[in-house]
Subunit: 701 residues, 2 copies
């Protein structure tokens, strides 16, 4: 009974989020959508984004279909084992997996739908003022935030209600993250191939403005913002949110009993649900202050949400008599998330030493820009790594004092705490590409200098906030994956009992000793994966950008009057969109497949111990490279903007040329490879949990 | 008795190496040292190198003195504990530590002494032909190779004979590696600051040739080759060789009994001694073939040495009835070393896809050069990581079948095997900077185009071989440090017994479980250190290069007739040397101190478990970043050379400009940060072993 009430409440909150999202959308639709030119361009962007997304989803549907069949036949154990007695488990898992992919795809679709409706309206609203424009951009992003977290909580609640099994939850989570892996990679390749080639020919070669409508790649660039930064990022954070809840639930059930709705399980649902509720309130309250500072407005709503969350979870902990220590842990997780965000800000903020030093180094040439940026990117890793390590250590140590199994549950709850306000985080994050698009539309639609200035301000705030939310989501991924490692161990132990390898109640695995050469072997291979994965994505960007540069050159050469900006002549935008679409679809599968295949090889060669080491190595260098790439990329981007705002000679100066090289290198770092690593880590962890029984049955060592 | 004979034999082999080195040097002295101009420049280079080295050693002597006092007072345990009963142990350790630093310093000095005698003679010999020139360069390098390995074996043999204690061996090794840390970092900053600034003003701004005598930084650049690539690299490999032997000996004694000269201890000495003997034979046999291909000549002598080593160790294993399995393990180690070298070659060889693709990308601008190079650098990590992982796995699994403790001893023996032919490796490696210098001298001494062509060929072979030996030494460091981790555990267990924390015979630590949050916390912090360490070194290079660029600009502006190359006008070379010397001395301490202090903080906060994780994290990302930085740097260097040899527009083309940016970024990657990481990992491992008792006594957790 209590279980039903609780699950109904979380489902209610998720429906509330959907309702609220719908209200926001309705409000958005009422905002004016300016002149016909902007409307036409918006249409092009929306069509481009939808074309890409549809093609991507068709490609991924095939992939998901194959995987679903594999799951049905083999996972968690071969369907013919035990005389077909477990066919229902396999079927449930396959269906849960498909649900995960579908929910993720829908969240991406919704995000694109709203973002492409909001971009033009944000540009038009900028004519009225920065406050109005901010509200349109922010509320547009919030729809995505509400939809993503709503979908996550709804899916998990329903699944738990219907099956109550940890394996099906893992299947759902794996569906979410396998789709996110490809969506993030594909969108990331698309957006950066378009961005780089547009900049390279437009800004560098021809010295025309960033979003000049003469540039054939300019629409592709705007489409990229949507498919990469909105849909891709949405899929990523959907995946993270699901994974953190699932990890916590699996561990909770390993304490309470599988399928049992004990106090720990209840707490996970309660804390996740209240996080969404706090985000709803935070979004509803968000206003821009009198000074019209968008940065301040975005941060203020984050702090408000955090405050509400602390109070609400405190109240429910009191009422339901949860462990206060677990409440404390969730708050520590949240605090560490904010802390990582703040240090990230230090390394990418143009008022601080790192960006200043990099821009100063740019006056000595691009090599210095790169060396300095790489160095600060490397330095930026330390505080976040210490933060994640300390959060894990404290939450485990505090949890441990409650009882057996609570150490790992503590880590999982810290991750749940860190990701609780993700609804707010996504709202802030999706705001970025919307105002970025709005800036482009303002330029292409000739809305005038005042509007450009406003949208520039909004865009710059988007960049800063993005850096913070990225640090946040990397930190959360770190904690989640540690918790998933705990989930992996409980899966292995359950499987070992099922297989009769140990007696019931006996743990087959207690941990992973790095002095065990199998663990160590896995550690080294797992540590190499994030580097290889990043390399494949970046080479994909490079390849596509080269093709697109050739196409842009061709158009400027073959279309008469285009370069001169003759009235009535417009470039063939669609050609560039097609190139980006085809190219990224070709590349996105490869990196993901390499990650999956390498995991299976290590598992079937080295068994569960090697996989344990592999996951740890993967987490460690995955975090390291993700932080390094995101931060150095953000730093170069803001460095370029700093030079462009008139420092060290401003636009066109040698320092600017060097800064542009840095920015271009940073583009695939921060928007393709870096943020995809989160997902790569999660996918590999979940995959390992799902295959745990097969690894136990069939590995060589 | 047998012990004495054995130690005398290894001492004899090391003396043989010194004798052989002296013969090579005597032969070298007999070679003509050309015209007076070259002689004058040689003198400048030698003086510059010696000035730097002396200043560096004075600075390091202070540091070593302080550390020796700390060791005397606190290590392995506070001198006042147990009523001053252990004062002799502390004293022995402090003295052993100082010996380690002194031996390392002497090896560096010898290397510089010979290299600066060989460079001019190599240039002059190039007038006769490539064979003659090759022999001078190679034999010059060999003196260093013999001296380094001779010193390592001599030092360890003497120390073992006199004390027989594992802790004093660890002290010796720590002395060697703490000196190497600073020598490598200081030399690396010196050489790259000079190199980059000379190139930037000379090649890029003024378009004058690489070693043009008008360039004020050209002598500093040549000095840098010696202090960075000869002295620094020598200290690095001295450290690796010592560490591999010490780790193997400590583990052997943990099986045989502390201070006992059992069969395992004997085997370590035998295999190391025979490695040196094989290198002596290999060096003595080295000749250039008829085709005059220096690459082939260098590789052939490596293979010859390897072959001799396999046979000699087989014979002694048969005579002394060692375990054949351990012989096999040593050979596997050696084979994996070669394998890593070969894969490194693939990624840096200009006849292969990676270099070709990067140069092709350079036609699209420097950003593409960087993105592509970083990507291939990331990819290059995988085969080496798998190789090291497999070597560790196989050697452990094979060793394990012999008996308890032999698993870890297997890994140590694989490292000993991999580093056995290091005498040969160093000879090949030191050849590089000698012929590089010779090339510069040929240009500055106007020896004509033919000579330049010859020295260019020799130089290019030096680059390729360098890439291979780097891969080799990183792999060896990986295995050694795993073995050192084993040594750390035995130290901790011994200390725990001494402190009465466990009963004799009971192990305090059996391994490090990554699911223990203390271990995991250490893992994340340790993983961040290599990034931070690299960043500090690269920022040091950048800072010094900027100062030196300003100085070069000043000289060209203020010295009349310099830029035009007026007869009798020469730049103030010494000013640039002074800048590089002062600058690198200021920077070299910082990175090293950060590494040491961070280790102590983690140890005193998290205790031995956190340190275990810390060391593992440090190994994993240390290897990853070292491989990445060395390989991408080598790739950019060879890419630039490929363009310069006339491809994609050749010198002065846009592709060349982009390739130069890649090369400049790669410079501190491959010659400062990348190779210093080896040493950083080793230092931190040894430091942890030395402090193990203090960590046990005083840590917070």
């Amino acid at each position: 009974m209590e279980q039903t009430i609780f699950l109904l409440s979380t489902i209610l909150i998720s429906l509330l989020a959907f309702g609220f999202a719908f209200l926001l959308y309705a409000w958005l639709r009422k905002q004016p959508l300016g002149n016909s030119k902007i409307e036409a361009i918006c249409l092009l962007i929306r069509q481009g984004a939808n074309t890409f997304l549809n093609k991507e989803y068709i490609a991924l549907a095939k992939f998901a279909g194959i995987l679903a069949v594999i799951i049905l036949v083999f996972l968690p154990q071969p369907i013919w084992s035990d005389g077909w007695a477990n066919w229902l488990t396999n079927l449930t898992m396959a269906v849960a997996y498909l649900f995960g992919t579908i929910f993720s795809a829908i969240a991406g679709k919704v995000g694109i739908f709203v973002a492409t409706a909001a971009n033009g309206r944000t540009a038009i609203a900028a004519k009225k003022g920065i406050k109005e424009s901010f509200m349109v951009g922010f509320r547009g992003g919030s729809v995505m935030g509400m939809a993503v977290v709503g979908a996550s909580i709804l899916g998990i609640s329903l699944l738990f209600w219907l099956t109550g099994h940890s394996t099906s939850l893992l299947g759902f989570s794996f569906g979410a993250s396998s789709l996110a892996l490809f969506a993030k990679a594909g969108g990331g390749i698309f957006t950066k191939a378009a961005d780089i080639s547009a900049d390279l020919v437009g800004k560098v070669e021809l010295s025309i403005p960033e979003d000049d409508p003469r540039n054939p790649a300019v629409i592709a660039d705007n489409v990229g913002d949507n498919v990469g930064d909105v849909a891709g990022m949405g899929a990523d954070l959907f995946d993270s949110h699901v994974a953190s809840m699932v990890a916590a639930l699996v561990i909770a059930m390993s304490i309470d009993g599988d399928g049992v709705f004990g106090l720990n399980v209840e707490m996970v649902f309660a804390f996740a649900g209240l996080g969404l509720l706090s985000s709803i309130i935070g979004v509803a309250c968000a206003r821009m202050g009198k000074k019209g500072n968008p940065n301040h407005a975005l941060n203020a709503s984050t702090y408000v949400t955090t405050g509400i969350y602390v109070v609400l979870t405190g109240i429910i902990t009191f009422i339901r008599q949860y462990e206060w220590k677990l409440w404390l842990i969730a708050i520590i997780g949240l605090a560490v998330g904010l802390l990582i965000g703040i240090t990230t800000d230090y390394f990418t903020n143009d008022e601080r030493k790192p960006v200043r030093n990099v821009t100063e180094a740019s006056t000595k040439g691009p090599a210095f820009t790169i060396i300095t940026g790489v160095s600060y990117g490397f330095l930026s890793v330390l505080p976040a790594m210490i933060g994640i390590g300390l959060a894990a250590l404290l939450s485990y140590k505090i949890g441990e004092t409650i009882g057996t199994g609570y150490g790992m549950f503590g880590i999982a709850m810290a991750a749940v705490g860190m990701l609780s306000i993700v609804g707010m985080i996504i709202s802030n994050d999706a705001y970025g590409p919307i105002v970025d698009n709005a800036r482009g539309l303002a330029e292409m639609g000739n809305l005038g200098e005042d509007v450009l200035e406003t949208t520039d301000k909004l865009d710059s705030a988007g960049n800063t906030v993005k850096a913070i939310t990225k640090g946040f989501s990397i930190g959360a991924a770190g904690l989640t994956v540690i918790a998933l490692l705990g989930a992996f161990i409980s899966e292995v132990n359950n499987s070992a009992i099922d297989l009769g390898m140990v007696a019931p109640g006996v743990a087959y695995l207690n941990g992973f000793d790095v002095m065990d050469p199998l663990v160590f072997f896995g550690l080294l291979v797992g540590a190499a994966l994030p580097a290889v994965f990043s390399a494949l994505l970046m080479l994909g960007v490079k390849k596509n950008a080269e093709t697109m540069v050739n196409e842009i050159h061709r158009q400027f050469k073959e279309i008469p009057g285009l370069q001169e900006g003759k009235e009535g002549v417009s470039p063939e935008y669609d050609k560039c969109i097609t190139i980006a679409t085809k190219g990224s679809l070709k590349e996105l599968i490869r990196a993901g497949v390499v990650a999956i295949v390498l995991t299976l090889i290590v598992g079937f060669v080295g068994g569960v111990k090697a996989i344990g080491g592999y996951l740890v190595g993967n987490i460690v260098t995955g975090l390291l490279l993700a932080l390094f790439m995101s931060n150095s990329g953000g730093l170069w981007d803001n460095g370029k903007k700093y030079v462009e705002s008139g420092h060290f000679g401003g636009k066109g100066s040698p320092a600017h040329k060097a800064a542009v090289v840095g920015d271009t290198v940073g583009d695939p770092f921060k928007d393709t490879a870096g943020p995809s690593l989160n997902t790569q880590i999660t996918v590999v962890s979940l995959l390992s949990s799902l295959f745990s029984m097969l690894f136990l049955m069939f590995s060589i060592f």
